[in-house]
Structures are given as C-alpha cells and as structure tokens.
Subunit: 194 residues, 2 copies
C-alpha cells in the first residue's frame, strides 16, 4: 500500500469523482496491463457506488476490461499533468510487440496492488476506485459507454479525508480538470453555499 493511502468508505466513494477530475484508467488481464486517460467519467449511483466512463473502441484498455471484467480509476494530480497527457496520446498497443515492457513501464509509472481486482493502481495518484464492469453490451458497442460498480476506494489522506478534499498547502496534489489540448484547471477557491 502507498504511504498516506487510506480506505474511503463505499458510501463516500462518489466524492472522489463528484467535482469532475480527469482520471487514468488502469486495466490488466493475464500478463498484460495498460493505462489510459479519461476526462469523460462520472458517478452513477451512491449505494452501491457505480460509475460511468467512456472507453473508446480503439483502446487496448477496452480489450483488457472486456477480458478481465474489471478496471481501476486512478485520480492523478497536478504534478502528473505531463504524464497524463502522454498517457492520453499513445496506445498500449504500441508496446504489444515488446513483451518485456508495457505502456505503464514506458511512462515510468510504478504501481501497487489493488485489493479486489487485477488492475494495478498507480503510485503518486491521489485516489483510486477499484471497479467491476457491469456488462451492458448495447451501450458499450453503440456509445463506448462503460458502467461499473466500485468495490473498493482509496485516497491520499493528505488531500482527502472524512469525505472531503482539502488541497490547502498541497498544490502539487490538486486534481486535474482537462479542458482540451493539455490545458487543465486545478481546484482554486472553494464556496460553502447556504
């Protein structure tokens, strides 16, 4: 387990994605693993927690998710912005002919083991959701839309604890919110509405 990593209750797992961060999806099957970037993700339900995420037909990730029935959502941080763009602009297929390595290795991404699924979790990210695919072939084929149940969740307690993000003093650990072309916002001022 990563230093600073604590379990997030399933009831509060949606809060890791509720404010709209761009994420990294990791997947594994057999001796293959992969990572891709995904801005198009959202919570889908509270209890049990579910998520929806768009996984393009061309991705190698899709093949591994369909084969394994699971994947992980890793929430990257500001310090990882360049890597997130690199993860979003190459395909895991590029490494298929080099069995000694992988896209994860090429991006220099050390990982640690998930608790309930085979997909690895990326070190240096600030939250992780372990997800089991809810098979819905029609929307997978027609819209590249994948649904999953969150079976475990983790966060870096320097920036997420007691169900809330708190980034004060941790600019490098802020979530990334992609607009387009490698341009991201990070969370700034907060508002507590009445």
């Amino acid at each position: 387990m990563e230093k600073n990593t604590v379990a997030v209750s399933l009831e509060q797992a949606y809060r890791l994605l509720n404010h709209g961060p761009t994420v990294l999806v990791t997947s594994a099957h057999g001796d293959q693993c992969n990572v891709m970037a995904a801005a198009w993700n959202m919570p889908l339900d509270f209890k049990p927690p579910k998520v929806a995420i768009v996984i393009d037909k061309q991705t190698y990730t899709r093949e591994l998710i369909l084969a394994s029935g699971s994947f992980a959502i890793n929430v990257p941080c500001a310090a990882q912005a360049d890597m997130v763009v690199k993860a979003g602009s190459s395909s895991g297929r590029d490494w298929l002919e080099k069995p000694e390595t992988s896209k994860l290795a090429a991006l220099d991404l050390p990982t640690f083991a998930a608790s309930n699924i085979q997909a690895p979790l990326i070190q240096g990210c600030i939250a992780w959701l372990e997800c089991k695919l809810i098979p819905e072939p029609h929307i997978q084929e027609t819209y590249d839309l994948y649904l999953a149940e969150v079976v475990a969740a983790w966060a870096d307690d320097r920036v997420f604890s007691k169900g809330h993000w708190h980034f004060e003093g941790h600019d490098a650990l802020k979530t990334l919110h992609h607009v387009a072309g490698g341009f991201f916002f990070t969370p700034g001022e907060s508002i507590q509405a009445k």
Copy 2:
C-alpha cells in the same frame, strides 16, 4: 438572447463540460417547466456531440424530459452557488398545485428562449447546451442514465471564447464543481501540459 452570449460550435461543445462542472437541467412540456441540479454529467461524444447525465426517478424533470424529448444543460457560476443548492434540494412537484408559478419562478430565475428546444435557458448562467434525448429505455430505467445529442450550444464570451474557458478577472463567473453538502470548488490555477 442574453447579453454576452455567443454561439459555440458543435465541435467544441464538449469543452463546456469537459472540466467537470455541476450543471442545472431545465425542461419544459406544454405549459410546465422545471429546473434541477446535476453534478453527474459528462460529454459522451465529439461529433455529433453527445452527453450523458443522471436524472433520478423521483424528479419532475424526468417526466418533462420523457414527455418533450429534450432538455437544456445550463452551466451555473460562482455567483449562483446558493441558488444551485436550493435547486438541488427541492422538487418541481412542490409547485404543481400552484399553476400560476413554478420552481423556476420560486427560485427567481429569469430565462430566455432556446433556439431548438422548448426548455428555457437560465439567465446569469455562463454556458448552455440544448439537448435532444436519445431514447435508451433500458439504461434510463435501470440506472437513471440519460443520453442526448447536443443540437446547439452557447456561452458567455466574457469567460468562454475560441474554444477555451478564461476566468481571469471574473471570479463570480467561474464554474462550480460540487463535492458534497453544498461545498464547491471553482477553477484556480491552470496548467498547460507539455
């Protein structure tokens, strides 16, 4: 049309939602209209642009969307945070017995007309996506998940132009990113990744 409101090309409409803002959904059918808050939304495709959004079974909005086949996504701003929480904590049904008014009127929300759909657009928001429902009854019933095609999009050009958000000098017009319990982040520092 609202002052400062300019058309956003359909190719760039996804950029209005890509960074994960919480939105307001407006809907209308016959002489009824409504508004609800929705943090669970995401782009689903580029061309034609599509979106996915969660619309709970209990909402009056759902009834109006199913009857009319369309809805609008309004992107609210920091100045509207209190109103967004109010919109998220009451139901349009509460006004059904008072035909002279509506939840929109009760929240003091003046609107302007959309170009392609009946749902009204909320003044003071900073972007608007006019959406036509893509009927998918199975996922609507099972997951409260609604898909739609974006048929027109608009933005306040003080903060969105040439395909990019630019909030400098406009704190009150920043997007809202809900975590939980009325606590929102607004966009802060930006990062242009390499």
